[in-house]
Symmetry: C2
Subunit: 469 residues, 2 copies
Amino acid sequence: MKVRRLQPDKPCHRPRDSLFSWSSGFDNFTGFVNWGFLLLGIGGVRLLLENFIKYGIRVDPWQWFLFLSGKNDGGEEYPSLLLICYSTVPVGLCLLIEKGLSVDIIAHGTGMVFHVINLVVMVLMPMVVIHVKDSGFSLVGAMYVCTLYAMLFLKLWSYIQVNMWCRLSSRKKTTQGRMRRQLSYNNLQSSGIQQSANDVSDFEHETNDCGNSLVQYPDNLSLGDLYYYILAPTLCYELNFPRTQRIRKRFLIKRILEVVVGCQVVMSLFQQWMIPSVKNSLIPFSNMDVAKASERLLKLAIPNHLVWLCFFYLTFHSSLNLLGELLHFADRNFYSDWWNANNIDTFWRAWNKPVHRWAVRHLYIPIVEMGYSKTTASLTVFFISAFFHEYLVSVPLRTFKIWAFMGMMGQIPLSVLSKMAERYCGPRWGNIVVWASLIIGQPLCIMMYYHDYVVTHFGETLIEDYSMV
Amino acid sequence: MKVRRLQPDKPCHRPRDSLFSWSSGFDNFTGFVNWGFLLLGIGGVRLLLENFIKYGIRVDPWQWFLFLSGKNDGGEEYPSLLLICYSTVPVGLCLLIEKGLSVDIIAHGTGMVFHVINLVVMVLMPMVVIHVKDSGFSLVGAMYVCTLYAMLFLKLWSYIQVNMWCRLSSRKKTTQGRMRRQLSYNNLQSSGIQQSANDVSDFEHETNDCGNSLVQYPDNLSLGDLYYYILAPTLCYELNFPRTQRIRKRFLIKRILEVVVGCQVVMSLFQQWMIPSVKNSLIPFSNMDVAKASERLLKLAIPNHLVWLCFFYLTFHSSLNLLGELLHFADRNFYSDWWNANNIDTFWRAWNKPVHRWAVRHLYIPIVEMGYSKTTASLTVFFISAFFHEYLVSVPLRTFKIWAFMGMMGQIPLSVLSKMAERYCGPRWGNIVVWASLIIGQPLCIMMYYHDYVVTHFGETLIEDYSMV
C-alpha cells in the first residue's frame, strides 16, 4: 500500500465500505432523531396553519372538558368525572386497612382479605358503570377511566405489598432487639459493663443524601404520602422516593409545549388520516378480499404507526417528565431503548418501564421467592398482562371479543420468530422483525376491533349496505 | 444512598434522566434507521399493490427508453441518446492530446490550450443542443444529459491534471537519473567500484497488495483505462485504483432490488404528491400571500424531502455501490455522515464525497500550492460549485434565472447562522439548523423555478386565469 501512496498520481482512493452498508460497522445515526422531531414539528405547524386559515382561532376548553368528562351526545351526566371522584373511596379504604394492620387492630390474614375485596370491587366498578350507562358514556372517556383504574389497581397492589414487607421486617427487628436487650441485660448482670450502646443504632434515624432523615414504616401511612405516590409517575411504592432539588423552568416549559403541540398533531393525524382509512377498509375486510384488504391495511399502518410513536413520546417522555418535574420526582427512567430491541422480549421489557418494573418487583420476584419456577413466574406475569390489555380495550368498546388477548398470545410465536431472526440472520433482522410486528400488528388489531364494533352496534346490514354502493 | 438501599421497602428508583432528554447523553438510535427503511419499504409495497389493483401489470421498458432518450411528445429525434454518443468525441480527443503530450509531439503549453478548448466546447454542447431543439427535448432527458456532461468535464479535468503530474515527475526522475548516472560514471572512473545498482530500483516495477505490478505513466494512456475511469464511481483519476477480489452476489442483488423498488417509490412520490402540491402553490406564491404561501411551502416540504432522501440513497448508496461492485472498484466512500453535521460547511463536505474529493484534490490544493491564500482557494471552489449548480438547473429548464446561484450564495449566511447555533446553543441546534435548511430551502428553490418556468413558457396570463377561478 505504501508503494502505491508514493506514486506521482497522488492516489486518493482506498478500499472501504459505504456507511449504510452493514459491513462498515458505522452506527451513529443521532442526526436522524433531530430530523424526525423536526419533520413532526413542521407537520404540526403546517396543520395548525391550515386549520387557522380555514377556521381562525377556535380553541375551546369547554369542548375539551366535555370530551374528557365522558359525556356523550345523548347523555346528561359526566360519568368519567364521577368515576374519578369515586376512586378516592377505595384509596381511602386501603389506607384505613393499612392503618389498622400497622397498629394490630386487624390481623394479617383478615387485612389481606379486605384488601383483595377492595381492589376487586374497584377494578369491576368501571365495567359496571359503563355497562349501565351504555350509550351515555363516550368511547374516549370510558377508555381513559379504565386506564386510570387499572393504574390505580397496580399502584395500590404495590402500596399494600411494600407496607407488608416493612411490617414483617420491623416485627423481625423488634423481636431481635428484644432478644438482644435480654442478652445485654444478662451480660450487665454478670460483668457489670454497660453494653446498650449497640441498641441505639437500631433505632437511630437513617438519613438520605440530602441529610434529611428517612421516613420509617408506620410514619409513612398518611393521606399526603399516599396521594403523592398516586400522582407520581411510577407504579412501585417506596417510603423515600429520590427527589430533585428544584424545578427546572426551561425543561418544564419545553414539556408543556410538547404536550400542547403533540396533542394537536395526534388528533389531526387521527381525524384526517386514520378514521377515513379505517372506514374505507371495512368492506374489503368484511368480504375477505385479500389483495384489497392488505392494501388497506398497509395504508392504515403508516398513520397508525405515526400516531403510536407520537403517543409514546407524549405519554412516556413529555407527560411523565412534566409530572416528575412538578413533583420533584427524580427517577425519569420511563422507557429504555426499545427502538434498538433485537427481539420481542427485549422490546416488551424496554418500552414501558413503569409496568415492567412493577411486574418484576411485585409479581415475578415474589412468585420465585415463594418457591415456584421462573417459567411459572414468567407465565403469570404474561397472563396478568394479557388480562389488563383485554380490560383496557374490551370494557370501553363493550365488545367482549378476545382480539387483544389473542394479540398478546401472538407475542409468543413472534418472540420465537424474532429470536430466530436474531440468531440466524443477525441482530439487525431481529430488530426489523420487532419493528414490522409493531407497524403491521397494531392496525390489524384495530381493524378487527373496528369490524366487530360496527357489527355489534350497527349490525351486519350496515356492512351489506356499504357493499352495495 | 447505600442506607436507602438497605431499607425494608426494597427501593427500586434512583435519580436518572429519560433517554430522549439531551442531558442523558444517550445516542444509540440505530434502530430508527431500520425503522426508516422498513417504512419506506412498506410504503413502496403498498404503492405497487395499489397500482397493480388499479391497472394490472404495466411495466413497459419502451416507455423508459423514450423517457431517458429525451424524446418529447412533439419531437422526432432522441437528443439525449445523440448527445451521449457524441460525448465519445471529446473523450477521444482528450486521449489523443495526452498521447501527443506523452511522446513530446505536442508542447506542454499548446497541449493545455487544446485541452481547455476541448473541455469548454464539450460543456457548451448540451446548452447549444437544448437551445436549438427547444421543445423537442424533454425536461428529464435534458437534465440527466447535463449531469452527465458536467461529470465528464470534472473527470477529464482530473485525468489531464493527473497525467500532467506524472509527466512532470517522470521528467524530473529521468533528469535526476541522468545526472546520477553521470555522477556514478565519474565515481567509477575515480574509484573503480560499480555503483549503478541504485539506478535499477528507479526503473524496477513497483507492485501493489495483490502482487500485481503497478501501471506506470505512459502505459496508462489507453482507451480501455480511460473508459474504466469514466464508468467508475469516482471523479478523481488514478493510475492504479484499489480493486476488489470478487463480485459479492448477494450484495449485487440487494443493490439491484433497491434501485428497482426505489425508482418506483421516487416516481410515485413525485407524481402523486409533489406535482399537485407544486401546482396548487403557484397562485398564493404569485400573489405574495404570505400565510397561504407558507402553508403550501410546508406542505410541499415533506414529500420533497422524502424524494430527496430516496434520491440520495438511490444515487449515492445503491447505484454507485452497484457500479463499484460490477467494476471491482474498492473505494465505496461516496458519502460520510452528513446526517450528524453540526454546521452547513460540514454538511457540504460530507454529503457528496466524489465532488468534495475532486474539489480538494484538483482545485483547492493546486491553488494553495500555486501560492494563493486558503481563502482564495475556498472562494474559487465555492464559485465553480455555484456555477455547476446553476448549469445543472438553468440549462435544462431554459430559464436563465439565478435562483440556484443565489441559493448557493445563501449558504454563506446559513453557514454563519449554523455555526452560531452550534457555538451558542450546542451542536444539536447546529444539526437542527442544517436539517431545517435542507427541508425548507429546497422546496423554496423549486417553487421559485417552477413559478419562473410557468411565467416564461406559458406567460403571465395563465397565472391570472388561475387566480380568477
